[in-house]
């Protein structure tokens, strides 16, 4: 295929990605080295606000942005180098905590706290998703043909459910005297508050994620199981291989590309964990990297937002995901070269 034909096929897709992803990304990259802020002046302002029957007026010094002749806020942009990265990473505090061996201090610094949780979350859910996915796929494959259809249908439900609603429904089931908490309390015969400490919330969040993603893995693996070479399975049986050996030496290697595919998708999705934080309102205990970026970006009540720190934290997040993906990607590179 020559370059022009290739460009014609790929062009529209690349154009859209450039316009809506690459271009914003470049501007985020640039913003992480600059700070843009309005020019403030101190003015004395009298503000009157309602009481119940009367008004209260206060006169005080306030910062007010200067406006130019068109009534637009005057802003200044300044190159600050790595200052925003430093503000996010807080290297001095972190280094002090590390040298003193004081991990609890390190875990109160937002970025490191977020990184710790994001990595734990990603790396713990990964084997669980693969394991459960594989398990469910094998179970479905074992089941009688007539029930496979309905079982696949039910299995897919957690995957298709809208994430916002999924997290909310877990909330209804577990929060306060939610039905499942009540059940646990009745079973263990003690008072349980699942949202009152970090570890229970973390377990709930991981449980939710595995519940949500394992069906996807299961269906992909199930599809893969359909193409396992029956002849080699049968000859393995004749050679006296046990069930476990057949699984290990024939089925798993056959599914390996799929396992890598699911792992990659899961790494990417779990690394940007966000809905769980909002859905379980876990900010008091655990936060994730994407939540941190989001928190910098969302304006406070008075409209201030920390664009530069958000950009820096977004860039750091991206570096992290590239590092995580390098291993699986080397294989893709070989396949790509080998396939042609």
């Amino acid at each position: 295929m020559n370059f022009r034909t290739f460009a014609a096929f790929v062009g529209p897709s690349v154009f859209m990605m450039l316009l809506f992803i690459a271009f914003p990304l470049v501007s985020v990259f640039k913003q992480s080295f600059y700070i843009t802020q309005p020019v403030y002046e101190m003015v004395e302002v009298e503000t009157c606000t309602p009481g119940f029957l009367t008004q209260t007026c206060v006169t005080e010094q306030k910062s007010q942005p200067k406006l130019d002749e068109h009534g637009e806020v005057i802003t200044q942009t300044e190159y600050v180098g790595l200052q925003s990265y430093r503000n996010v990473l807080e290297p001095e505090r972190a280094w002090r905590a590390i040298t003193e061996g004081n991990w609890s201090v390190l875990s109160t610094i937002n970025f490191w706290k977020a990184l710790r949780f994001t990595l734990t979350f990603t790396l713990i859910t990964l084997p669980l998703v693969i394991g459960f996915g594989l398990g469910i796929a094998v179970l479905i494959n074992n089941a009688a043909g007539s029930i496979r259809g309905p079982v696949i249908f039910i299995s897919l439900l957690p995957f298709i459910i809208t994430p916002v609603i999924g997290a909310l429904s877990i909330n209804w089931l577990f929060r306060g005297e939610g039905i499942l908490t009540a059940l646990l309390e009745w079973w263990l015969n003690r008072d349980i508050a699942l949202f009152a400490q970090a570890w229970t919330i973390e377990i709930l969040m991981m449980f939710y994620r595995v519940w949500h993603v394992a069906p996807f893995a299961a269906v992909v693996f199930y599809a893969g199981l359909q193409t396992v070479n029956q002849d080699s399975l049968e000859s393995a049986v004749i050679d006296g291989a046990t069930r476990w050996q057949r699984m290990k030496y024939i089925v798993i290697p056959h599914l390996m590309p799929l396992i890598i595919f699911v792992s990659m998708i899961h790494l990417m999705d779990a690394y940007r964990v966000f809905e769980e934080i909002v859905g379980f309102s876990s900010q008091a205990y655990v936060i994730s990297l994407q939540w941190l970026t989001f928190d910098f970006l969302v304006p406070d009540q008075a409209g201030n937002r920390s664009i530069s720190r958000a950009s820096a934290s977004a860039m750091l997040t991206m570096i992290g995901i590239v590092l995580l993906l390098i291993l699986p990607l080397r294989r893709t590179w070989r396949d790509h070269k080998g396939g042609h």
Binding site: F52, S63, A284, G303
Partner: protein, 403 residues
């Protein structure tokens, strides 16, 4: 299952939309509004829609959208709904217009304290006020012979008594959800102690004895709260009240009506609205207002029509029809027992929320940093120092503190 009821409802919906006669005139100019989405806004925008040619966006992302949408020329929305703090970005960017001329033309029915004035110019029209105040179960307290709590020491003593008597395991409720709610609780307490938040040159001033006292009171309260307090928001506290699980809470006046809602509440008539508990200097609460602003990037003709429509939306008819939805600022408002708590707090000298650009930054820093103290990860001074450091970083980035 009942087809008839569905058809009836449909027919009534049609009848309702046909009867836009509730408005005293016909609006000719197409107008749009952007505001928060709580019940009072729904009531107001519904009343405005009766005049025709009006569409309302009740949007939970309004904070993010409003500054941008009002800065566009022409503005994407003519009418905006704001509160103390959310007016600041619009005011600072100069995207809302002074309303003095329009108040003179259409505002005969407005009360003087509805006019939000900045440097003598009317910039917004307040329609309601809201404040957190003490709500308590009169039956529970009376049974144990406890007087109405006046201070937080009273509240804590009462809680201890209730717990001891075995009436309730967690007698206190609180809107301690991490983020805005938790920060607001600190603001209330610190106001009660008479503290100032921000000093000369926007330098933070919360790391002092008053700040520590405020934090300690909050921590003392959590001893009597459901251990999941860091995820409990206003709706959750309201439900705890309705289900009879808690006896006291410093809750928003706008939630008072829910206590007497027969369909949901098991404590109808058993909840008394009282003044917010006193701190060392004044009630531990802040008064908030919600109101309406008009964009400056629109024609005078549109502004005229928009203001007229606003007056129709917040008129006496609307207030009478939705009397218990909010503490309205209107001559037609009948303050009942439900508004008593907010009124008593104001009478005792509660202050307005000290809105400013710097306060917005501080509120966010508080919201993110306070949980570390309550969970025991930091002591009070460290928590406050870290919050101040966090604030300074953010304020420098926003340009509020020069480097």
């Amino acid at each position: 299952m009942k087809l008839k009821t569905i058809l009836m409802a449909g027919a009534m919906a049609i009848a309702a939309s046909g009867a836009s006669a509730a408005c005293s005139y016909e609006n000719e100019v197409p107008l749009k509004s952007l505001s928060a989405g709580f019940e009072a806004w729904k009531a107001v925008t519904d009343a405005m829609a009766e005049c025709g040619n009006f569409s309302a966006s009740l949007d939970q992302e309004f904070r993010e959208k409003q500054p941008e949408a009002f800065a566009a020329d022409p503005s994407l929305y003519q009418i905006g709904g704001v509160a103390n703090e959310t007016m600041i970005p619009l005011l600072n960017a100069g995207t809302i217009r002074p309303l003095d001329d329009l108040v003179a033309k259409y505002g005969q029915d407005l009360l003087p304290n509805q006019l939000i004035k900045v440097d003598g110019k009317v910039m917004a029209i307040a329609m309601m006020v809201n404040a957190q105040h003490l709500m308590y179960r009169n039956d529970v307290l009376a049974e144990l012979g406890i007087e109405e709590p006046k201070t937080y020491d009273d509240v804590l003593a009462a809680a201890a008594k209730i717990k001891e008597a075995g009436v309730m395991e967690y007698p206190i409720g609180g809107t301690f959800k991490t983020g805005w709610n938790l920060a607001q609780e600190f603001v209330n307490m610190y106001m009660g102690e008479g503290g100032t938040f921000i000093g000369e040159g926007n330098i933070p001033a919360i790391n002092n004895e008053k700040g520590v006292k405020a934090l300690e009171t909050m921590k003392a309260m959590t001893e009597f709260m459901d251990p999941e307090y860091l995820v409990s928001d206003s709706t959750y506290v309201q439900q705890q009240f309705q289900q009879g699980k808690i006896a006291m809470a410093n809750l928003w006046a706008s939630r008072a009506a829910a206590m007497n809602d027969e369909a949901e509440s098991q404590v109808v008539g058993k909840v008394t609205m009282a003044s917010a508990p006193m701190g060392s200097e004044r009630p531990s609460t802040t008064i908030w207002w919600d109101g309406i602003v008009l964009a400056s990037n629109m024609s005078d003709e549109e502004a005229d029509a928009a203001f007229r429509l606003v007056m129709e939306g917040i008129d006496g008819d609307m207030v009478s029809a939705n009397n218990d939805t909010a503490v309205w600022l209107n001559a037609a408002y009948q303050p009942g027992e439900l508004a008593a708590g907010a009124a008593a707090s104001a009478e005792n000298g509660a202050g307005a929320y000290p809105a400013s650009a710097a306060m917005g930054v501080l509120h966010s820093a508080l919201g993110n940093g306070l949980a570390d103290y309550l969970t025991g990860a930091k002591d009070a001074q460290t928590a406050l120092a870290d919050i101040e450091a966090d604030y300074i970083t953010a304020a420098k980035e926003a340009g509020l503190i020069s480097n």
